[in-house]
Structures are given as structure tokens and as C-alpha cells.
Amino acid sequence: MTRRPASPNLPPMAALKSIEFAIDLKSLSKVYPNGVQALDHLSLRVRRGEIYGLLGPNGAGKSTLIKCLTGLVHPTACRGSVLGFPVGDPEVNRLLGYLPENASWPEHLTAEQVLHFAGRLHGLVSRERTRRVRELLLLTGLEAWSHDRPQHFSKGMRQRLGVAYALMGNPELIFLDEPTDGVDPVGRKEMRDLIRGLKREGKTVFVNSHLLDELEIICDRMAILMRGRVVRHGSLEELTLESCRYEIAVVGNLLEDPGLLDLVQRLGGTVALGPEALESRIDLPTRRPQLVQPVIDALRQEGYLLLSVAPARQSLEDLFLEAIRSGGQFAQREPRD
């Protein structure tokens, strides 16, 4: 493997403190030998200490991205760094934890032995290793099964073992590839708590998922990946704010009021009728309250009874589906940070 110029010779922690972005990708492309372009000039920035979610349908390239960042897959072209190291530098491995998508555990080891193996790979001495293994078994709730073989574990237990394995070397940046896929609701909740705990310890967590609600709940910021490109990114707030609308509910059938209908349509909004045409709902595509006032004034003038005026956010799910529908045709914006 071609070693890039030596990593900074500072003590790791001191060097790390000065890094703002745990992951700073300017452009990353991967074309597999079979011609599949899994990642296409992808750019992405993950701040230190945040939980970052990568959302995308199956085959979007989420796992490929993590594999590139952990050095398992060689990018076709890459500008960027992970914790200050060039992408693919094996030196960074000791600072990373990785829960793979489909971990297959060695058949000859028990859960505890698997963790000891990880500890030895990290160069932990026996005493320290034993302490750390016990700590992680406790953290992931696997103490009772420490002498069982992981093949007999449930999916949720295997995922938790995977997290323990990933955390063995006390990594700074943790990649979790579909941590809750195939896990029952209780297991999901436990996994979420575990991830939040990592954030409290100051770790950076990068989560891949095709499960929207998971990311919605735990992530500080997220990106939507489509066909190897980031089509949207930001905090949940930012992502959904971009698509904020105002909804006004009134008593009466506005479709029979040409004047008001005309005003709404000039503002780019729509009118929909409620059940039995007793109520109407006006939908205005704006997030500025000033633009809503003329409509409210007009409604009051005509004597309509206003039921509610409220900003309505598009859910992440809507946003995601919209992204999928448009087939990743959004232009990729530069990271704003």
C-alpha cells in the first residue's frame, strides 16, 4: 500500500483536538471493477462530536462510503481526510470503530473471546483488556451471554456485540452501518441510547440507515444520499425548514370565492376542501409570515372564520420520498460550514 506522507507526529490527542471536522471529504468517487459507480464526487463534512446520519435507499452507496473511509475499499479518486489522516491511511484505523453491515463472527470464539481478540489487535495489555471487555459487555448488556458463541445470538445481540467490538480501542470516530436493521423495537431503543451515550463521551458517530425515523430521532445532522451523491444535507431543522409551508384552515368553501382563490394562486398556494366542503385549507409555499398576512387580511375582510394559521413542516419522510422521486436530480450543494 502506498503510504502517504507521514501522519502528523504530534501526540494523537493533541493533534486531534485541533481538528474541527472528523470527516472532511471534498470529492470522493468510487467505481467498482464491474463498472458500478457507487459514489460520484461526493462531498461531506462531519463535525467532531456530532451524530451524523446518512440516509438513502438501498444501493445508494452508503456502505461503500463507510468502506472507503475505513480503508476496506480503495476510492477511485479522493480528496479529503478522516481525523486529519488522508482517506485510506491505515494509521487512522486505531482511532476508528466500525460496525459492519453484515458482521460474520468467527465460529471458534465466544463473545468475550471475540472482544479479547479485538483488544489484542489494539495492543491492549492483559489487565487493561480484561477491564475493557467487562466494561463493554456491561455497556452493551451482554454480560450474561459472554460465554456463548455469537452465531447463536439474536440479530439485536449480534449488533450490540458489534458495537462493543467497534468500541474496544476507545475510538474517536465510530461508523455504524445499519445498526438497527432487523432489530426489534426494544433493541432499537437500546441502540439509540447507546449511540447517545457515545455522543455524551465526546465521540463522533456516523450512522448509515435506510430507516428514517431512527435518524430523525438521534442525529444532529444528516445527509440524503442518492446514487452516490449527497442531494440534501443539514440538521433536521434545516432540512425540513427549506420546505416549510403555511397552512390556514377556515370555515366555508373557498373554491366558490373567485377573488380569494385568485389571491392564493398568485402567491403560489393551493386550496383544498375538507370533508363535506364545510372547511377549506389553504396551503402557502412560504416560510415568511409577512407573505401570509395579505391572505389573512382578505379572509377577515370577507368575514371567514379562521380556525388555525400554522407553519407546517414537511416531514423527513416526505423529503426523502421527494428526493427519491426526483431520482437524485437535485444539484449537490457545497457544504455550508
Binding site: 500500500m1 467498482y32 471493477p33 468502506k67 475505513t70 480503508g71 476496506l72 475499499v73 480503495h74 491505515p90 494509521e91 484505523n93 486505531r94 476508528l96 466500525y98 459492519p100 453491515e101 453484515n102 458482521a103 460474520s104 463472527w105 468467527p106 465460529e107 471458534h108 470464539l109 481478540f117 479485538a118 489484542r120 489487535l121 489494539h122 495492543g123 467490538y165 474496544m168 480501542g169
Partner: protein, 327 residues
């Protein structure tokens, strides 16, 4: 360094949990027991700790033929079993190691925790060597005890068979590793390595023959008689593992010089009126005869260096290939 050790010991554990490992161990024990069960009595030879005896007028307790018999059998056991056959058995386990490690679910776990892929490759390889050393050590120790018990000769040089066995095993294991990286398939890696090993043994055997003898098979005779055929064969076989010379060299280093010729002992062997021994020596002659050029220390060192070099280069190629590919 500790990671390399962790990988090696994990590989050893992994291999030792296989049923094949026990087959290897039990075979080693059986071979040693078979040798140890032979004994000379005042009235002849007995096998199976006295289960079956062969009356003999010359092969009796304390006779020079007794020493000849033991030395001959132990030497050949060290040569053919420890160095020749046992590494083949270990190979069956070894060939599966790399392909398994490269399966994506495992690769993700192991490779992301190491400082580099070469480290994983070397760790797995070293673990395989340790694994192959176990039956070799058991056999060598068994033969050592046998000689001491039966003849009062404590020949610690018998343990030299272990490094020789490992040298040969390393060459075959390196090929298995390379093929494992190349194909990711245990069965392909194993099959091709076995094919390679058999061809190398045959090739080196042919290359070490000084001249075609009449009773040899046609093909070899033709190869030799073709002008420069032997030279071509020898230069082709030069960089390959020196199976023949290593087995031969180990035998010489053992230094078990018997008072009489083992060959003569075998030749005398009869079952009833059948002169089995004479027939057997005819067949085995070719393998037993010293080559035209005696194996000098220089030639043996060359054989060791070439074999070690072959292993290193093969491993290097495997490491380069592994570093290039996506996991």
C-alpha cells in the same frame, strides 16, 4: 507486533478447533507408536508390542542389525512422514484460512482493526506455521523417545526435522495464501496448491536423478535423453521449493549412521519363501540411492535459501495483491 501475535494465535486457535487437526495429531501419534512398537528380542523381531513376532537368526537383540533397523526406520519416518507427508495434511486446514478471512463479514472486522493488510496476512501465515509445527514436534519428540527407549541413543538432532518440515510447509502455505487472496475460494486454493505440491515433488525428484536408468518409466527416460533435457529441467526447477534436497539434507544432518546398510537389511527380508525385500529394494532403489553429486553443505544452504526465498516472494506477491483489492 502484538497485533501480529494476536492474529497468529487466533489463527492457531481457529485451526486447532478443526476436526482435521485431530486427525493430524492422531496420525502422528499412530506413526510414532507403530515405530515404537517394533522391538528386537533374543529370538527375532516383534511388532505391535509383541503382538506379532518374526523369528530371525540375525535380527536379534543387541545385534548390529537391530541398530540398523531402528536407525533406518526412524530416518525414513522423519523424512517421509514429518517432512514429506505431515505438511500436506496441515495444508488442508491452512488453505481455508485466507479465503475465510477475506469474506466481507469477517474482513470488515479484522482488517479495520489492524495497521495494514500485510500484518493480517503475515499473522495468518505465522499462525499456520505454528499449527504445522505441532504434529511435527509431536512426531519428532516421539521418535526421540523411541530411539532412547529402544536403543539408549538420545539423538536430539531428530528435532531438526521440525524446521525442515516447516520450511517446506511455509513454501506450500505461501502458495495457498497467494491463491486464497487471488480466488477467495478455499477449495480452489487447496486443489491448486496440492497440484502444485505434487508437481514440485515430482519435478525435483526427476531433476535430482543423475541419469536415466533402464528400469525407469519411459517418460522420464525420454525427458533425460532429449538433448539438454535434464539441464532444462534443472533450471526450471531451480527456483522452486527444493523438496528433494531438503529431505535429503535433513537426513544427513540427523547423523544416524548405522553399522550396516539398511538396504541390505530390507533386501534380506522374506515372507516364507517370498523374497519381498529384494523386490522392494528394486522398486525403492531409485529413491534411496545417493545422487551422483553428493549434497554438500553449500548445496544444502542453497536449497534452504531458495526455498525460503520462494516462500517470501510468494507471500510478498500475495501481500501486494491483497493491498490492491477491495474487501
Amino acid at each position: 507486533m502484538s497485533a501480529l501475535f494476536a492474529l497468529a494465535s487466533d489463527t492457531l486457535t481457529l485451526l486447532c478447533r478443526r476436526r482435521l487437526f485431530w486427525l493430524n495429531i492422531w496420525l502422528s501419534v499412530a506413526v510414532v507408536l507403530a515405530v515404537a512398537s517394533m522391538s528386537c528380542r533374543p529370538d527375532g523381531l516383534s511388532f505391535g508390542f509383541g503382538l506379532k513376532s518374526w523369528p530371525s537368526s540375525y535380527l536379534t537383540k543387541g545385534s548390529p542389525w537391530e541398530t540398523t533397523l531402528y536407525f533406518g526406520v526412524v530416518r525414513r519416518t522423519a523424512q517421509w512422514w514429518i517432512v514429506g507427508a505431515a505438511p500436506f495434511l496441515a495444508l488442508f486446514s491452512m488453505a481455508t484460512v485466507l479465503p475465510k478471512t477475506l469474506k466481507s463479514g469477517q474482513a470488515a472486522l479484522v482488517f479495520t482493526k489492524s495497521r495494514g493488510r500485510t500484518e493480517v496476512l503475515l499473522g495468518r501465515f505465522l499462525g499456520g506455521l505454528l499449527f504445522a509445527a505441532i504434529p511435527a514436534l509431536i512426531s519428532a519428540f516421539g521418535l526421540f523417545l523411541t530411539l532412547g527407549w529402544r536403543l539408549g541413543v538420545w539423538e536430539s538432532r531428530l528435532f531438526l526435522a521440525v524446521p525442515f518440515a516447516l520450511l517446506l510447509f511455509a513454501a506450500l502455505a505461501a502458495v495457498a495464501v497467494l491463491l486464497g487472496v487471488l480466488t477467495k475460494s478455499s477449495s480452489t486454493a487447496l486443489a491448486v496448491t496440492l497440484l502444485f505440491a505434487v508437481s514440485v515433488f515430482a519435478l525435483q525428484d526427476a531433476a535430482s536423478r543423475p541419469s536415466p536408468s533402464d528400469d525407469e518409466n519411459e517418460i522420464k527416460g525420454l525427458m533425460h535423453s532429449a538433448s539438454g533435457g535434464l539441464v532444462a529441467l534443472q533450471s526450471f526447477a531451480w527456483p522452486l521449493p527444493r523438496t528433494q534436497e531438503l529431505m535429503e539434507g535433513m537426513d544427513r544432518l540427523l547423523g544416524l549412521r548405522s553399522p550396516l546398510l539398511f538396504r541390505d537389511l530390507v533386501r534380506r527380508w522374506r515372507i516364507g519363501k517370498l523374497r519381498v525385500g529384494a523386490a522392494a529394494t528394486q522398486v525403492l532403489e531409485a529413491n534411496q540411492d545417493a545422487p551422483a553429486e553428493p549434497l554438500t553443505p553449500l548445496k544444502l544452504s542453497e536449497a534452504i535459501l531458495v526455498t525460503a526465498g520462494f516462500s517470501s516472494l510468494t507471500l510478498l506477491a500475495a501481500a501486494m495483491l491483497l493491498n490492491r483489492r477491495d474487501l
